[in-house]
Every structure is written in C-alpha cells, then in structure tokens.
C-alpha cells in the first residue's frame, strides 16, 4: 500500500468537492473492495475521503411509494429491512446471495455498486489489462475466461461486473442519486450507471469526477414473484457464473435481468414480452450478438436453463 492521506468530511458536498479537487483522491466507505485493491497496488489513491460519518444510512419511504436507500446502508441491514423483504424480495435475496456475512456487515449500498471486476488478469499486475492500465492490452480475451463476459464486452475488455445487488436493482428500475462538488444533485437510472467497456474499459461507471452517490431510490413495488437465482461453483462464498433477477407476475409476464454475463447487469427490456413463451424465447433475444469465448460459452445455455428454473419457480 502506498502512503495516503485521509480525512473525514462533514457533508456529502464537501466530500465531493475534496475528491474533485485532488487528482488522486477516492471515497472510502466499507472498504471491502478498495482496501484489497490498494494492498495489491491496483488502486493507488493518495488521499482517502472517508464518507462513513456522513449519515446517509437510512432506508426511507418516498412520496412516490418507493424506498430511498442511503448510500451507506450496509448490505446486511438492507437485506434485513422489513420493507425490502416484503416488497422488494429480489433485492433482499440478491444481497444475501453475495459475499459472506462478515463482508455484508461492512459493505455499503453505494460501495457495492462500485465494486470492480474480479477478472483475474485485472488482479495480476504483471499481466496486461486495459482496465487496470489503459492501453496495455487485454490478457483475458485469449486467456482463462470461464468467469468472464459473453456479451457487452469489447476488443479491449471482457471483464464482468461481479455483483449481485445491482442486478436486482436493475430489474427494479432503481435510480442512483448523487451530489457533485458544487452541491448539484443528479439522478442516474441504474440502467445508465455502469458503462460498457468499449475502448475505455478503465471507466466503470458514468459518475463524474468527485461525484458522490448519496442514495439509491426504488420505485413503488412491482407485484409478482421476486426471485434471485445465483448459480455458482460452490454453495459458500463465490461469484456468480450466471445469476437471474426476476419479477414474474401470475400471468407469466414480468421483468428479468442477468448477472455474471456482462460488464454490467444485463437486461434487455424488449425481450421481456416473450417471458410467457418461456426461457428460450427470452434468452435468444437477451443474448443476441453474444460473443462467448471457448471457456465461457456454457454461460449461454446456463442462462437459458436458469431462467427456465426461475420461471418454473414463479409458476409453482
């Protein structure tokens, strides 16, 4: 870890202003991802702005009938919140499918949205990685890629977004609220929050310099069976090979997003009209144009079969 300075600002806007003003500054909340990356010198901030003291840790009802989740609400608390459990089951289930109890106790809502890829080449500083070191190349494309993206990737990067929570937020049409250095606020639909890599894989999100997430809002609840199905190699702690977040109504219509397959939670709304026809009709459209590698081609079949299982569960 390289030496860094540290401060605790007194307001979100002040935090944003500090990070915007210092070229190598970063926010830190739970630190469950950032500290690991700093130890490996994959992230080398020179200044840390600790936002843990800023409040932002409440889950509140919105006038529109939804929920506003503070950026610092811990994963454990959010998953256990009675309103989330009752009305947004897909979110609670996704959170509990992620990481371990210890990590969920520390990890925050905003931090979880910002967790970086788990591509092994991103983690090995002796290997070329455009996300870690722009322009150095991508070792993963012809390398070991069983975990990596089958769609939405580019010639520059095939990393996946690794999280679970954001996949549920995507199917819930959540909105990310931010504040910037000048105190201005912005609402970013979660659909637009994570970027596809294109030729700039080092930029994970559409946040601007210094922009701080203050909350994630959920619209009013969507009726239906809320299911999160995470497929992984072991029952304990593991990243998703494929995950499905779905809300399925009694009539078989609904919404679905996929995790573990793309650089961001993957949802194609135009395919959802085919949900009553069954899994294949949907995944054919959702994964149209997929470019799997030899190692990860199984994910296409797995996504179809997992969605099939989710639809069966919804019918049951």
């Amino acid at each position: 870890m390289k030496s860094f300075t540290y401060e605790r600002p007194s307001s979100p806007a002040e935090a944003a202003a500090t990070v915007a003003a210092k070229p190598n500054a970063k926010f830190i909340a739970g630190g469950t991802n950032l500290l690991d990356l700093m130890k490996l010198q994959i992230e080398t901030p020179t200044h840390l702005v600790d936002v843990n003291g800023l409040g932002l840790d409440k889950v509140e009802a919105t006038p529109e009938g939804g929920l506003r989740i503070g950026a610092l609400v811990r994963n454990t608390d959010l998953a256990a919140d009675a309103r989330v459990r009752k009305d947004y089951g897909v979110l609670s289930r996704a959170l509990l499918a992620g990481a371990s109890g210890q990590l969920r106790n520390k990890a925050t809502t905003a931090g979880n949205l910002l967790q970086r890829t788990r591509c092994p080449y991103f983690y090995d500083t002796a290997q070329a990685c455009n996300k870690r070191q722009p322009g150095s190349g991508c070792s993963a494309i012809d390398g070991v890629s069983r975990q990596l993206a089958v769609i939405g990737a580019s010639e520059a990067c095939i990393a996946t977004y690794p999280g679970d929570m954001a996949v549920a937020m995507r199917v819930l049409d959540a909105t990310v609220e931010t504040v910037d250095a000048k105190g201005g606020t912005r609402k970013i639909p979660v659909a637009d929050f994570h970027r596809l890599p294109g030729d700039r894989p080092e930029v994970d999100t559409t946040l601007r310099a210094g922009e701080l997430i203050t909350a994630v809002t959920l619209p009013k609840p969507v009726v239906g069976r809320h299911i999160y199905r995470k497929v992984r190699d072991r029952a304990s702690y593991a990243y998703a090979l494929v995950s499905v977040a779905a809300i399925i109504g009694k009539d078989g219509t609904g919404h679905v997003a996929f995790g573990g397959v793309a650089p961001r939670p993957w949802r194609i709304e135009a395919a959802e009209g085919d949900l009553p026809k069954g899994a294949k009709a949907v995944t054919d459209k959702v994964f149209a144009g997929a470019k799997p590698t030899h190692d990860n081609a199984y994910k296409l079949k797995l996504a179809e079969r997992t969605l099939g299982a989710v639809l069966s569960e919804a019918r049951a």
């Binding site: 870890m1 390289k2 030496s3 130890k39 490996l40 010198q41 788990r118 092994p120 080449y121 983690y123 090995d124 500083t125 002796a126 290997q127 070792s139 012809d142 390398g143 070991v144 069983r146 199905r229 497929v231 992984r232 190699d233 072991r234 029952a235 304990s236 702690y237 593991a238 990243y239 090979l241 494929v242 199984y298 079949k301 797995l302 079969r305 997992t306 099939g308 299982a309 069966s312």
Partner: protein, 734 residues
Amino acid sequence: MKFDTPAGQNPIDKLKVVGKATDRIDGPFKTTGTAPYAYDWHDPKLKPAYGFVVGAGIAKGRIKAMNLTSAKAAQGVLAIVTAGNAGKLGKGKLNIATLLGGPEIEHYHQAVALVVAETFEQARAAAALVKIDYAEAKGAYDLAAVKDTGKPEKLGPAPADTSVGDFAGAFAGAPIQLDATYTTPDQAHAMMEPHASIASWEGDRLTVWTSNQMIAWAARDVAATLDMPQDKVRIVSPFIGGGFGGKLFVRTEAILAALGARAARRPVKVALTRPMMFNNTVHRPATIQRIRIGATPDGMITAIGHESWSGNLPDGKPEAAVQQTRLLYAGANRMTQTRMATLDLPEGNAMRAPGEAPGLMALEIAMDEMAEKLGIDPIQFRILNDTQVDPEKPERPFSQRNLVQCLRTGADRFGWDKRVSKPGQVRDGRWLVGIGVAAGFRNNQVTKSGARVRLDAKGMLTVETDMTDIGTGSYTIIGQTAAEMMGVTLDRVIVRLGDSDFPVSSGSGGQWGANCSTSGVFAACEKLREAVSQKLGFNSADAVFEDGQVRSGNRTAPLAQAAAGGDVVAEDTIEFGDLAKKYQQSTFAGHFVEVGVDVATAEIRVRRMLAVCAAGRILNPKSARNQVIGGMAMGVGAALMEELAIDKRRGFFVNHDLAGYEVAVHADIPHQEVIFLDEVDPISSPMKAKGVGELGICGAGAAVANAIHNATGIRVRDYPITLDKLLDRMPDAA
C-alpha cells in the same frame, strides 16, 4: 529402540489416556491468541525489519536488466537482496527450482528480489518500484501437449514400470473390458497460514522462526542453501496454520529472510502474500491417467493396468498416481507405468496424500464404471476383488486389511440398500439425487523418530521432540502417550515441539507423524521408566506405573520421588526394522457420498458424507475425526472445484488467490460422519497405530464423482466436475 518384531502387550494397551477422545491441549492457546505462529513471533528485542518478495513476471527466460535505483531510494528501505548481490547460494536437497531466481527464470513468481524496509508497507511500496526488463523465452505449459515426450521416472524406490503376469494378453482376452482416461488438474495446498519466517543472526549463528512441517529437513536445507554448517542453524516452528505438504520444504521466504537479515544487519520477517503463494511455491501436478481393467463376467479382475503422465520442472518428480493400483485389488495380470514430461510451470511437489489422492480419483471411478458394465453392485465388485496379500508378491501379507468391513459397515450406516442403481431416477424437488462409493487407501509409512522426556521433582513430565503440530493434534497425542506410559494424567505432561534443539522426529507428512512420533515418545518413556525404577530401587521389568505411583511387588513410591534429587531425563529414538518389507502396511476406508445435482443448472452440492476407516489404533478419536473430515472436505474440493487454471500462453496459474481458487468449506458440506473400526496393528509400531489423516481425502473425490453419475447418469472423467461439464448432457429440466 529398534522395532523389528510385532508389538506385544505394553503399557499403552491400558488405554487410560490413549484412545480417549481428548480436546487439544494447545486449543486454549489458539483460541486466546497466545499460540505464536511464525509471523506473530514477538520478541521486543528482535525489532525486525520487514521483507517483501518480488516475484518474476514471466514463466521462463532471463532478466535482461534490473533497476533498483528508485526502490533503494524509497522511504524506509534498508536493503535489497537479489541473486546478483546475495553471494553464491546452494540448493536444498528437496528444492527443485532455486529459491532466489535470476538472471535465469525457472517459473512465474519465482522470487527475484527481497526488499527490506522499516515497515511492511514501505517494503511493499518499494518492491513495486523494482524495475525488471525480461527476455521471455518459450516454455511448455500444457501437459496434454507434451505428454508423449514423458520419460520413465522412478517413484522413490519403486520403478517407473511394474509388471506381473501377462497384462496385455489377459486384458485382450478379458470378456469384459474397460479402457478409460481420466485427468486431474494442478491443485494448490491453499493452507490458511501463508509461508512466513523471521530470521535473526547472532554472529555466524542463524535462528529462523518459521512455519515448517519437517524441522530437521528445514535445518539441513537452510544450511545447504546458505552454505553454512547445519549446527549453526536453529529452526523454531511450534505452531503451524496448515501445511498440507506445502511446508515439507524450506521455501523462499525463509531463505530470503536470512539473506535480508544479513544484508540489513538486523532480524527480518517475511511472509508470502496470498497471490504469491500459488505460483511462487509448490503445487500438486496435474495428471493424465489411463486405466484398463479386464474381468470375467462374474466380476473377477483378470487384468488391471494403470498408466500416469504428469509434468514438472527438469529434476522434479512425477505424481505417483499409480501407487495404490499396485496394492488395492487382486488380479493375476497387472502393470503400472509412470511418465514425466518437462513443464515450465511452477514446481510440482507433495500435496495432501500425494499419489493416492489423484490416483484414487481415477481408479475408483474406473471401478465404478466396471461394476456398471458388469451389472454388479460397486461394493460387491470391490469385495470380490479384495486381497489380503500384496498382489504383486503374494508371499507378502497385509499387516491388517479390513477394507471389506469398511465397505460393509459404511453400506449399512449410509443406507446403501436404498440406492437406486439405475442412474438419474431419484428426484428431491429441484435436485437429482445420487449416492456413490469409493474405496479409500493410503499407505502407512514408518520412519524413525526421537524424543526426550524429563521428570521433575513435582512429578511433571516434559516431552521435547522436533515433531510438528500442523493443526493435526500432535501436541495432544504426544502428551497422551507420555501420560499413559508414565501412569499420570494428561495435565501432568508438558509437550514442547517444533525446535531443532530437540531430538529429531519423524516430522509431519505422508500421514506418518502420529504413529511414528508417538512411538518415539514411547521409546523415550521406556527408557525413562527404567531410569525411574532404578532411582526408586525397583526392578524395572515388573514395575507398574499407575495413578502417579510406581509399584513393584508390595512396594509403592510416588513417581515424583524419583526426581527428588534432580530431574530424570531419558532420550531415545524409535527405529523401524524390516516389518514394513515383510508386511504391506496400509490404511483403508469406505467413502460414501450423497450429492444433489440441480436439474436445471447442474450445480452440484454434497448432501452428506461418511468415511469408515480402518487405520489401526486411533490414538485420539477426536483429533483423528477432525483430520478425517478435513481430508473428506479436501476430497470434495478436488472433485468439484479445485483447479489451478493455467494460462498456457504465459505459463502461470491465473487464479492465484482464494477468490479464484475455491476450496470446499463448511457451508459446502452440511453433514459429515466418520467411523473408526476397532482395530490395532501390532506390526505397525508399539503404539499399534497407523497414519489416518490423509485417508480422509483418499477416495473421497471419486465417491463424489460416482454419486454424480448415480444422480444424473453422466460420467465425467475430467476433474474438477463443474456444472459446465454436465450441462450439455443434463436431462430436460422441465
């Protein structure tokens, strides 16, 4: 003490302390944080500096140039050790690649420098400033591609090729034949505690606090590497957070700590970071195994052949995957063959039951496949082909062999009669459920082991031996042994381990530690009993040591009285004669596994496991059970998830951390049961015990594989069995 005739009645047979399920005596130290592991060793006088290892960024080639300028100038840096400034280094007997590389690079993450600084963070930051310019060379990284270049390679004393009868003819003529090829991947030890050492020089004397399974080997190889006399080296390793074979050897952090301490003129501590461990240290090599079995229609094996290919660095050893096939089943015509090809991957070496663990992963699927071909129950097929003698040398019996009883007991306890032999028939909700069995087999190795036992005036006993406790329970069974021998309770015994100042023991490896090290304590206690008897004026032959007293005829004296005039000390070493030549000594198990396979996603989850073990006298059923369930969990890991994924372009293991290299943990196995058969083996040792730790892994993986086949009808011959290998062949999910 020479052990060359089977043990008769001896004081251990009283079983007042030995054989009782006993909590670990070192447990409270561990749960209260007072057991100093190597990196935790805290002596305020030492004031150690911190070393950080720089690993090579290529797998094969040369360092063209190394620029240390900015690293040297970095804050807090005290010294930088490289091959260029370390002076001439030797090589330990058990090391293959050199522990400090450069300019030649032999494998990825081979250490090329140690940066020493005042703090760990400073050392790490400066290490990142070491600039290295490489000339990368082409290497061989794919076993399948180079397999046919493999050369015959001996397995220790055993030849590369073995042959009895006419295998080729018998196999060709067999009415029922199986010819199948299996693969096991490279695997990592992935023990919790990383390799860690603190080195301190006093003049020309070196002390290394380290984490090592074999103290005497470590002292020898540190001395050899640093080109210094062994008696100037002291190795201290009282607590070890898992080794699994990876700490049988001196590794780079110990040598670099010593070199760093010399360069910085103060003690230096070094731990490998987790991402360094997978490529810098050693691993279990991948294998390709071809098995051929020929049998009569009624299930008698007439021909059995096992060929294994593995790769390693030049001068490395092959994985001994055929080992168990020479001994496990009858069959008049048999062959094994071992080939090793050169690979430029990191060094392959011993891990978690080397040989049998991957060998049985193949052989015991083959037995299941053959039973299916024959239409015979897989347990029955194994029983039909049981042998009570070494099948290559029928004049040589097994000392004890209760495999059949293991299988029968297990079948009974596990509910084998409820298994539906036709695969894919049992459904429980979303799960296809299957049950599998495999035989477990691991040899019982014996090797000499010494100990020193001291009796003081308070009647306390202190045992000293360089034996190690790698989480296995050595402290406790050694204490139990001394207590039993001297007729005292366990709380009267202090056990001190893991110090090269103590008598040389067997060390911990190959599941030989428990039986051999306690036998060494037995021998020392026999001498102490004589000395005590003499002090008390008793005839040692008829003296009875019981309840803290020594009794002879109608006279009784407190044990402590013998030390009234000063401590009574005895030291001895158990040495094993040729009983291991006259008798085949092995341990046996029946492994039973129930799995569920998700009908849609093909996710595989173990539901329950049972191991029935026949391994001689069980010295402490609690710590033995702990060993066996740990082994079973490793078997599950090997079957379902453990694989070092190779980047075949650049020659390294890509998933080099515990997020990428998954192992089975508690949440992955809801229920495990272990049964020990009530058995003693007087041919093995005076303890009548055998190794047991590695028996848990041997066969467990194949039992998982066979259960998956029973659940789904899908036979996967390439480990690990991950869902992507099942998905295309899964039955329709609807």
